[in-house]
């Protein structure tokens, strides 16, 4: 995979020039494809995901939210 290597005129050591190996190209193509498929799948299932979701409140009903607040108060807000 190191076809980009050439002889250093200063000595016998080899110098590796830029040349992206084939496995890296395949890896990038597969990764991008998988990511695109995941994005499409998320959009088709409602699109309720993304970095913002990790920082926002979990979607809950008002009744459940009231219970969660009550539980938090019972626990002294420790959790």
């Amino acid at each position: 995979m190191e076809s980009g290597a050439e002889q250093d005129p200063q000595g016998g050591s080899t110098r590796h020039l830029a040349g992206i190996p084939r496995w890296v190209k395949v890896f990038v193509v597969v990764t991008v494809t998988v990511l695109l498929l995941m994005v499409v799948a998320m959009l088709m299932t409602g699109g309720q995901h993304g970095p913002g979701r990790h920082q926002s409140a979990f979607p809950i009903s008002e009744r459940t939210a009231a219970r969660a607040v009550a539980t938090d108060a019972d626990l002294g807000g420790v959790c």
């Binding site: 995979m1 190191e2 050591s13 590796h16 020039l17 830029a18 992206i20 190996p21 496995w23 890296v24 890896f27 995941m38 970095p51 979701r53 990790h54 920082q55 409140a57 979990f58 809950i60 459940t64 219970r67 969660a68 009550a70 539980t71 938090d72 959790c79």
Partner: protein, 167 residues
């Protein structure tokens, strides 16, 4: 700075243990997530979410952080370098991504576990699980492990290779 052979071996042992432990703990989390998803018993759903929160914070997060830090140590303290080889660079990016998503996701898991405690049995069985995150995470970690084992050739050219450290 290069590590001496005894220190390098100790760091490698720690890196392998924490990395493999991270994968194992992620599988345990996935098992609980599947249980929470498919179970029709509220007690199972409660327990699964409590277990996911506990495993997440007490096992997965520490192991993930340790695996990341020991990976950095192994890269910077050996001839591999951090940016010199494609496989190291890709493993670094994927590990950073996995750890970042984990740290961003765990508060949501805690929040959901807390909600599960406050729910009635009828509500709890509709809570569902958290299968996608651990499944994708395990996939990423396995890819990283394979890269670490095979160490495919290819240098980035971002750092000059020192002749005395050549592979």
């Amino acid at each position: 700075m290069q590590m001496t052979p005894p220190i390098r071996k100790a760091a490698l042992a720690l890196h392998i243990c924490t990395s493999v432990g991270w994968i194992g703990a992620a599988f345990a989390y996935l098992a609980l997530a599947v249980a929470a998803q498919v179970s029709q018993q509220a007690s199972t759903v409660y327990s699964a979410w409590m277990g996911m929160e506990l495993i997440g914070w007490a096992v997965i997060v520490p192991l993930g952080c340790l695996a990341f830090l020991t990976g950095l140590l192994m890269s910077l303290g050996t001839s591999w370098g951090l940016l010199r080889h494609y496989w190291v660079l890709i493993a670094l990016v994927l590990t950073t991504l996995a750890l970042g998503v984990l740290l961003l996701h765990m508060p949501t898991v805690s929040q959901t576990a807390e909600l599960a405690r406050a729910m009635s049995e009828a509500e709890a069985v509709t809570l569902g699980g958290d299968i996608v995150h651990p499944a994708v995470g395990i996939g990423l970690l396995i890819v990283i492990a394979v890269l670490n084992i095979y160490k495919p050739r290819g240098q980035t050219g971002l750092m000059q290779q020192r002749p005395d450290l050549a592979r």
